[in-house]
Amino acid sequence: MDRHNWKGGPAAAFTSIIALALTGCAAASGATGPETTAAPAASDASSEPYASTYERYPGVPTALVGATIYDGAGGRIENGVVLFANGEVVGVGDSNLAIPEGYLEIDGTGRFVTPGIIDIHSHLGDYPSPSVPAHSDGNEATSPTTPEVWAEHSVWPQDPGFSRALANGGITSLQILPGSANLMGGRSVTLKNVPSRTVQGMKFPGAPYSMKMACGENPKRVYGGRGRMPSTRMGNFAVNRETWMEAQAWMERDNPGRDLAMETLAGVLDGEIGIQNHCYRADEMALVLDMADEFGYQVSAFHHAVEAYKIADILAEHDVCAAVWADWYGFKMEAYDAIPENAALLHNAGACVVIHSDDENGIQRLNQEAAKAQADGIRMGFDISDADVIGWITLNAARAMGIDEMTGSLEAGKMADIVLWNGDPLSVYSRPEMVWIDGALMYDMNNPLMRPVSDFELGQPGEGDVK
């Protein structure tokens, strides 16, 4: 089938990304796993452009002992033990879990351990600090559909925001999305929150791509304001549907040649690229789900889904996550019906909840935002455990980003992305004390030297200060 001829492109590229990731991990961890994952295209740079060059930093085998553990998957262990070595979680258990010889023991008494916090919706690097026009690289607002752009090509790795997200938010992974000016804004990129000279050095190995889409007010305002389509919500859908039809037609063509936009759209229709859909209103989300059925793709998550609570049952049924704020409201018309109980109502209906930031400040407090959303639900009479709430900012985010096999929970074999908190992470009074990424210590609040300083900050007022 012609389509399969084409699939030798991006589809194979996807396979090779996974292959590289697995071999990369194996190499980094010193394991000598089977070579079964090696794919023919693994060395073909053209099939996997801008490949991740991230390699984990050195760590020491470590045992976190005595802390309360939230494993991210709904589990809670008092006085627990987390073992990690060679970049991976080795074991998680109660105080009976034996500590192998040679492990550095860290006393976590009175402290808490969670998986690394994951923000599914960030623009760090694409809208970096300082927020000056020269840095505004998040919206290619020149056409209502720009599936051809890739967020990674805008990321400024020197954005000081990455270090704040690490030190105050315990953020270990984050998805950088194009902005919401366009119906189809382009590809996202998932990063490990490590300082790097290059974006490739931050790219999460093996993370699948997603494409950003946007419902509602933004696309129609941006383009309608220029007297062109779309200027209405019906225009939004018409342009989307026309574009999906173009992609389908392109996929049927013989040797269609390279087309960056179509490659991304085809990746979505083939199920290899997820959809992260900015969409506030319940009615529009329901329409998007029908559009996804019409063209045969899956929405990974609705972002800013302030009205998700109105269709929690539909979202649960479609297995779509809702990435929401705890309590943002009212700043635009489609945010008017936002309520603080949104996450809780979703959770209560069995839908997948993710707390996201979309904000360089909010990313520093996802734990607090989750705690607020939980408390509002508990006041409604819902039973929402602390352990489940930690999942809203760890495993559920990873799931909607397609990286849940690798990170998002503390399970043997997963990446050792771990936060040791100096108190209950759902309390305003707690802060990350130590943060490991792939088993490497990347932040330590007690050690001023373990506080990354971006190039931009060097020699500037406040350099190296606590932030």
Binding site: W325, W328, V466
Partner: protein, 456 residues
């Protein structure tokens, strides 16, 4: 429950007549008075005739005052939120509902938020439900460094919100002021000085005219005109402000009205403080002060209070390079009077002030950071902002203070806590709003009998 239902009804009717103040005593609660001290366990607060008459441990409840058992709860003064837009907008992005700034207005300093404030805007009820009982409301600078005049309000569920109209002038200096003034800080400083001098001239003319017969000055339509317009032709080519704007600056120039100046950069803060050498009467408040910690001693020496953001830690602009969450703590340690406000994202509403304050407590445990004690942090969102606004009897529980009480289900600075009941001037307030109604409507999604539109 009966009480809740009563409130629901009153919320809908929104107080055609003002709700009545009730005498009340709350006993057995943890009480934070808001004055900077630590919370007091098992304490009592008594409100009579809309005023606090006692707060603390060992307080006797006067006979005849109804008692509410506050065991397990916290009682505090209401939050005082500074520099808000409460009542000036319904939806920021719906321009027809947004009265925050006036880009195309011919006026600047004369702009006055008081008649624009709408107590029925949802921000009122959301903030009230979050324990905010008082606020300063500030216009945004639209086309001039002079944003206009802010007001102090209470958040009671009635139409009588404005407690002090034209409480202060708001001026944008720093980067934004520079752009508004024509492209540079040089221009914003020239503009501000010129404006204050114009106000001074006007002030002087006004005084002169009070001893000069100007009754004969007539305009064409035979209405008497403002004498300040007459006989000053030599100034006409040199006037940048409209007469209305210049007149509006006279009280600020005299120090009868506060002048809020927004500056972030350390050098801009010093330049603002230096203005008082030229205009000694200015009653200045510095708003912003992201880099204040670098010049904390100079600010302290000036005696000028500061309204600062709690959690800025990014070099969001070149005037905020030294931003750190320790800014407020370091300023307080240097002896500066600091209130927390300022909202840097769509998510940081006035009702999240306790969360911001709580963060300033948490950073005390991070080596290198300077935070606040619990009492200092809570004062920074209650009595301190009230005092800066010149309303020393608000945001505090002490004899004679306004009877603004919030009963919380836990530590008010903790993110899991929320108000259970709220009183303003002794009047218990409805906590229902658009959000709570939506919450209840969608508690169940069962529409097998009738659509949700029939649930209310």
């Amino acid at each position: 429950m009966k009480r809740l239902l009563t409130f629901a009804a009153s919320a809908i009717a929104l107080a055609a007549s003002p709700l009545a103040a009730q005498d009340i005593a709350i006993t057995g609660a943890t009480v934070a008075t808001g004055d900077g001290s630590d919370p007091i366990e098992n304490a009592t607060v008594v409100v009579r005739g809309g005023r606090v008459i006692a707060a603390g441990a060992g307080v006797q409840v006067p006979a005849g005052v109804p008692v509410l058992d506050g065991t397990g709860a916290w009682v505090t003064p209401g939050i005082f939120a500074s520099i808000t837009n409460i009542g000036l907008e319904d939806v920021a992005a719906v321009s027809s509902s947004n009265d925050i700034d006036a880009d195309d207005s011919p006026f600047s300093a004369a702009l006055d938020v008081a008649p624009a404030i709408n107590p029925q805007a949802q921000d009122f009820s959301y903030s009230r439900a979050g324990g905010v009982t008082r606020a300063s409301v500030t216009p945004g600078a639209g086309s001039s460094i002079f944003a206009g005049q802010g007001a102090v309000i209470d958040l009671g569920a009635d139409f009588d919100a404005v407690r002090e109209a034209r409480a202060f002038q708001m001026v944008e200096m720093g980067e934004r002021g520079a752009r508004l003034a024509g492209g540079s800080r040089t221009s914003s400083h020239a503009l501000l000085r010129n404006a204050l001098r114009e106000a001074a001239d006007l002030d002087e003319v006004g005084r002169l005219r009070t001893v000069t017969d100007n009754g004969r000055v007539r305009s064409g339509d035979d209405l008497s005109i403002d004498p300040r317009l007459a006989g000053r032709a030599e100034r006409e080519g040199d006037v940048l402000l409209s007469r209305f704007d210049a007149a509006a600056l006279v009280p600020a120039l005299r120090g009868e009205q506060q002048l809020y100046i927004r500056v972030e950069r350390a050098s801009d803060i010093l330049a603002a403080i230096a203005l008082r050498e030229e205009f000694p009467s200015l009653d200045m408040v510095i708003v912003g002060a992201t880099e204040g910690w670098m010049v904390a001693d100079q600010i302290a020496a000036s005696g000028i209070p500061v309204i600062a953001a709690a959690l800025r830690d990014l070099p969001a602009s070149f005037e905020q390079l030294a931003a750190t969450q320790s800014n407020v703590g370091r300023l307080v340690d240097a002896g500066v009077t600091v209130a927390i406000a300022q909202y840097d994202s769509s998510g940081e509403h006035p009702r999240n002030l306790p969360q911001m304050a709580g963060n300033l407590v948490s950073i005390n445990n991070v080596p290198g950071h300077t935070g606040l004690t619990w009492g200092e942090a809570f004062a920074a969102i209650t009595s301190v902002p009230a005092r800066i606004a010149g309303h020393a009897n608000e945001g505090v529980l002490r004899n004679g203070a306004h009877g603004d009480l919030v009963l919380w289900d836990g530590d008010p600075l903790e993110v899991s806590s929320a108000p259970i009941r709220v009183w303003i001037d002794g009047v218990e307030q409805p906590l229902e709003n658009h959000q709570t109604r939506l919450r209840e409507r969608y508690r169940t999604l069962d529409e097998s009998q009738l659509p949700p539109a029939y649930r209310r």
